[in-house]
Amino acid sequence: MIKSVFKQYSGFSLLRNSLSGHRNWARVWRDPEPKRSYDVIIIGAGGHGLASAYYLAKLHGIKNVAVLEKGWLGGGNTGRNTTIVRSNYRQDGNAHFYEHSLKLWEGLSQDLNYNVMFSQRGVLNLAHSDSEMEKFSERGNAMRLNGIDAELLLPDQIRREVPHLDCSQNTRYPIYGGLLQPRGGTARHDAVAWGFARAADALGVDIIQNCEVTGIRVQGERVVGVDTTRGAIDAGKVGLAVAGNSSRLAAMAGLKLPIESHVLQAMVSEPLKPIIHTVLTSSASHVYINQTDKGEVLFGGDLDLYNSYAQRGNLPRVEYVIQSVLTLFPCLRRVRLMRTWGGVMDMSMDGSPIIGKLPIDGLYFNGGWCYGGFKATPGSGWCFAHTIANDKPHALNEPLSLERFKSGALLDENGAGAFPNAH
């Protein structure tokens, strides 16, 4: 992948650079001036945009590619999520796509020669009623039929697996069991952006930061380029990977999307010794928890539930999410919260993402990631690159098309209807 063996990261390069006090590591990616024209422009240098550029260059031989970023690389939702990776979906369209992504995760550090710290510590969904256990066994069976790992756990097994969890009958939401995906886990979110950026750059992709797209130029039925704060750039094809701001970018091309933008908060505690070894989720109050490699307990819950482009939320949601965590882990009661933050989600009308063509030739869309964009990063880039290179979707992202909202072939895992904040 990277030409010079001396630029490869390895135990040897670590040792060699340690001899000079780690002061001589090479720059990881270039900072090029934008050229006048590219074959493909990807808008958005988050995980998805960078992964798309990487797979375009690596798998499809399209290397005259620019990734344009209004701020800094990975500064949006790539750096704001709770780092969870899983593929425990019920619907076929989602299941195959996310499972493909999970398989890419399993080889990603090797593929990129960059440690994304992928840790398959398991994702455990807790059930709080008999009917939820019924749903979990149904979903677990559906997953296994799709070749995805799933195990139904009883309360005793959960008590052994997560000893600090309140499994008593006196808690607000007693635990009836759970659905475990052992291959799920977490990854280091920033490293995913950096790893894809470094690998894409090494293949010739120009990553251009501080370059905000201000217009999408369309001639007749075809996209011909973009206007940016650093001048106009021509392009044969343009891909949007700007979840959170998808509606604003699509509006530049005169398009309206089945998406609303909502703020989602997350937070971390001060670092603790290891007490939570898996990713835990509970739908009783909608909360998801894991412990980072640094020891912080990292968790999040629902959206603030009103349309928002502010990368910050309000305290009622923070309070509710903390209460939910403490219901599950009363032992965390005196732990201090270190930080809270917010990111802007593309909430689609059926709760599932969109990867596909837009009704303008040469314009492609990747967005609508709702709560779950991070885990999709490699699969999303892989499918988006295929779609852009071949001007048609891969079988894996055909069900994720924009047209599904017109045809009625929705992927509504929750059966919540066309209410973006209900997914």
């Binding site: 509606s247 309206k256 089945p258 998406i259 349309n307 502010a310 009308m349 066309a418 209410f419």
Partner: protein, 88 residues
Amino acid sequence: MLVIRCPWCGERAQIEFTYRGDATVERPDLEANSDEWYDYVYTRDNPRGEHTEWWHHTGGCRKWFKVRRNTWTHEIISSEPPGSPDSD
């Protein structure tokens, strides 16, 4: 914490209210074609800036009303009963 003014109850804390969404979409005629229904059910302007939206005073008088709010700053500009001439 947002402080939202219910047109009937006055200013109350955000936690008393439930959000519904864009209040500018209009239900098309029953005879309308599927593209118009698609637009009504699914597509939204989703502006970064001023947005007119439905809220419900769930923990109060349980009436619906329209709020004009900035989605970037969270500033609440006005709130009006449904159908009032000042609202969109």
